[in-house]
Amino acid sequence: METTKTTESIAELTRKGTCIEFFSAYQDLDTERMINLATPEATVWFQPLGEDGKGLFREFGKAVWSLLMDCFPDIDNTVDSMYSEDDAVTCKVAIFGTQEKEFMGLPSKGLKFNSDHIFVFRFDENDKITDLSINWNHENFVAQLTGA
């Protein structure tokens, strides 16, 4: 019984550590490191974009993060807190940066954004990411970039 418990807690240790590594790679603008933490079949969902925001972690996810890094070259993050339950780790993260290029139809006004995000990572038994869903207040994000 205790052996199982110990194993479970070690698994969680690795999973939270993987999340930290994901955000560290994000800070370093290193999309390869980010996607290498996931299985080849892993999925991602940028929730405010609806069904259009769903895709493969290593393709769609990489494309979105690459675009973000291109349009917001100083993009950065702060991990506020992490919480694990079952096979998921939920991270509250502040994402911030300055827009330098048009992003998804939003022309650049050179404005900064700072937006609280919720990342929910799911893992397989080898502690690889199998799914990630990301949520944020998109209206507020757009308002910050348009100065509305």
Binding site: E2, T6, T78, S81, M82, Y83
Partner: protein
Amino acid sequence: MFYRKFPPPAHLQSFVECFYIWEYSKTLSKAIAIESPPTGFASIVFNYGTPYRVTSQKLNGGLVPKNFLTGQATKSYQLQLSGQIGMVGIVFRPAGLHTLFGMPMYEFSDERTNLRDVLGKCVDEYSDKIEDAASHSERLALLEQFVNVQFLRKNPVADRTDFAANLIVDKRGLININDVISELYVCRRQFERKFLQKVGVSPKYYTRIRRVGHLCNELAQKRWKIDDWQDLIYHYGYYDQSHFIKDFTEFIGKAPSLYVKNNTELANYLKN
């Protein structure tokens, strides 16, 4: 009911907030529920009373390990005690547990992890001795010895993160993190990474936890009778009422009015 906090000796004051003993010599005729806001402190607890349950965002009334380590709470939680109460604890300064024991504290936020799983078999010896101790002073001495052994092994030195985290506690969370970063001449990213490692949450998030925790403490001291809410909100540095309600509800899990009502009812019930 006996509940008392004890200050640590001088050489541990940068790492340990206090020791405590909580006992009840009789057997509780029915279970009692005690709600606690997030306090901003991590702790190690040795329980020699009846095993108890915790309801939190993670534990749905589950039994907690006999001896456990808990990191930062990011939400209110409720202890459900029954039978006999007997426990002692070490409450650490926000970065103290990491500085003394070296584990990444983000792993323990909102968790109650079996102490044996973290520190190994050495825990059993202390657990047995604490259980068998004949007096409060003996138990207190064992707690001090437990920390002292680690202190001698590790020879810890409080660093800038300890300083910043302790400053946030001392200022009740009413502090601008950018000012702290400038004052300490540290790189923001490095500071935030280290803080997450040593405290378990980000510096800004920690100021919010600390502020709400301290405010709840003041509400309790005033027996939940607040004459001027606006003054209180202003005193705790909230921008306006809606900002206060949003922050309070996020950490406590209920609106301030409901929190005060519930606690007033509980206080009246206990008084009667």
